[in-house]
Amino acid sequence: MSFYVLVVDDEPDLEALFRQQFRRDLRTGRFRMEFATSAPTALRRAVEIREASLILILSDINMPGMTGLELLPVVRAARPDVPVIMITAYGDAETRRRAIEHGAEGLLTKPIDFALLRQQIDARLEQAA
């Protein structure tokens, strides 16, 4: 069974960035990455991906249409077993508080600190293994 990380961001270039950043892990099949450029697409994929294999959802907050904070409670209800980490350009205390309040497990700020993100993914992989 392969493990999935689902990334939600309206910026399509984020996929290239992530795929390059984690190219070794992806090449060796340590985990896979799925990308969605809108909250509804992400929600559909979250349900489609088989139960235990989805280990983490990373979501942007500011997106046209449904925002990350709106997506959060819905996706948590659909997949209570999958932790969600928000990724935003604005890491102020208020945004952090609201993200946690809506059910996020954590909040990372942009520009993304990939070392930190890697730690988070590694931790989920260990739990799942």
């Binding site: 910026e11 390059q20 102020d92 205390a93 208020e94 993304i112």
Partner: protein
């Protein structure tokens, strides 16, 4: 041409003596009246000169001995003007006034009956009034005519004309004096109105000036606020693409390293190897530059975002003196950490009554840190050109006022030139070399103090001598004023 025959035919005939005298007198009267009117017109503010002219002319036209103009204020007669006699006689006259109206029946009657009153013989009329009797003897008059000055709301004074001989004044002289009295009233009324208008004008000019200052402040505040919003808006837009630049450049740097590793294993002709090495090392250096400047841009954008004042921390009661003290220590240690050679004399003049204010402590600390660091920068700059004796000093003081607290940060540094002073609160205005300052510090300070706390920030400075920033915070600060940000 019709009347020319008559005019040409007119012959000059001598006038009878009595008629000539009459004409001359009436001419003199007209001349006197005209002169008084001229004086009225030329001295709008005070009636001293007018009274003097009336006194002088009255005396002359009625063959009088002397004249005095008395001004009635609060039931008391004041000597407004008089014609000179001898020094002793004048002194006696002056010493009689101010005089209560009720003390002299003659004066009281003149005022209450609002018509001229005559004293035919002072030796009889002033019996029982030793002061006036003494006066009449010293100034040498025997009869007096008292003419009331009739204003809109009753009598406002008296013209007193004296003669050396006893008996009544001539009818036409009394008439003339009444004319003068009327003119005097006009003059007094004029002066009163003039002074009133002038006082009002001064008052209006002052309130206009106040209004203008307030308006300038408001315009400045609004301008800065909209610039601040614009700044934050631009930052929002730039932040996302900039994040990509930063992430991709950092990633590319890693990839270049990996590429170099791969290239090391490959076999190339010597010439190509040299070229590959050179190109890959240039690529790496360039990417390092992109990363470095990307970080710089990111820190500017972060500063710009502070203008949107989201996440400005919590509002709570805080001890003003403690905030100032902490900021001073923080700034000092910060400066020392950056440059160990940095030294300055720090002074604290904290008013123990400054007390506790409801505010955003984080934000106020940010402002203080900014102002203090600016002070440090200014003294460092002055030290570069100043002589041996220069001792860098920065003083932080607080002062409690009834409904507000004042914080002053004063340094003896380079000072601020006038043209800089005008623009220094504008976003992106900086005098520092590229890369050393974003030009957002004072702009954000202004936002925090004026917009968020409803206070004011002013500066007093003299180039090459000192700069003092004065922050004023209302005691009922942030609560009512702050409406921005999130709930």
């Amino acid at each position: 041409m019709l009347g020319s025959g008559y005019m040409g035919g007119k012959t000059q005939q001598p006038l009878p003596d009595s008629l000539e005298l009459q004409l001359r007198e009436s001419l003199e009267r007209e001349a006197a009246t005209a002169e008084i009117l001229r004086v009225i017109a030329s001295s709008p503010a005070g009636f001293g000169p007018i009274f003097a002219a009336i006194a002088e002319r009255s005396k002359k036209l009625v063959n009088g001995l002397s004249t005095a103009v008395l001004h009635l204020k609060n039931d008391t007669l004041h000597l407004a003007a008089f014609t000179r006699r001898s020094e002793v006689a004048d002194a006696t006259l002056i010493s009689l006034f101010p005089l209560k109206l009720s003390d002299v029946d003659w004066y009281e009657r003149t005022i209450s009956e609002a018509r001229p009153v005559q004293i035919e013989d002072c030796e009889l009329g002033f019996a029982g009034l030793p002061g006036l009797l003494d006066l009449s003897r010293k100034r040498g008059f025997r009869s007096v005519a008292l003419i009331p000055l009739l204003g809109h709301s009753g009598s406002i004074g008296i013209i007193s004309v004296t003669r050396a001989e006893t008996g009544n004044f001539r009818e036409e002289h009394i008439r003339l004096l009444r004319t003068f009295a009327d003119q005097a009233v006009i003059a007094i009324e004029n002066a009163r109105l003039f002074n009133e208008v002038q006082a009002r004008t001064t008052e209006l000019a002052q309130s206009l000036e106040n209004l203008r200052v307030a308006q300038d402040r408001l315009v400045q505040t609004e301008k800065l606020a909209s610039l601040g919003q614009l700044t934050a808006g631009i930052a929002h837009e730039i932040k996302n693409p900039l994040n990509f630049v930063n992430n991709f450049s950092a990633l590319s740097l890693e990839l270049t390293d990996e590429l170099n590793e791969v290239l090391k294993q490959a076999t190339f002709a010597e010439k190509i190897r040299a070229e590959v090495d050179e190109l890959s090392s240039l690529l790496k250096e360039n990417l390092e530059k992109v990363v470095q400047h990307g970080k710089r841009a990111d820190s500017i954008v972060k500063n710009m975002l502070l203008h949107s004042r989201e996440g400005s921390g919590e509002r709570r009661s805080a001890d003003i003196n403690a905030l100032v003290g902490e900021s001073l220590n923080l700034a000092y240690h910060g400066a020392r950490a950056e440059k160990s050679a940095f030294n300055i004399t720090l002074k604290r003049e904290l008013d123990p009554d400054a007390g506790i204010i409801d505010l955003y402590p984080q934000e106020i600390t940010r402002v203080l840190l900014n102002l203090i660091s600016n002070g440090f920068y200014a003294v460092t700059k002055r030290k570069q050109t100043a002589g041996e004796g220069f001792e860098p000093t920065l003083c932080a003081s607080t002062r409690s006022e009834r409904d507000r607290v004042e914080i002053r940060i004063r340094d003896n540094g380079a000072g601020i030139p006038e043209e800089v002073k005008e623009k220094m609160f504008n976003p992106f205005f900086t005098t520092k070399p590229a890369g050393e300052g974003t030009g957002l510090g004072l702009s954000i300070c202004h936002d925090i103090i004026v917009k968020q706390h409803g206070g004011s920030i002013d500066v007093a400075t003299e180039p090459g001598v000192f700069t003092e920033f004065i922050v004023t915070l209302p005691r009922i600060a942030a609560a009512q004023i702050h409406t921005g940000g999130k709930k």
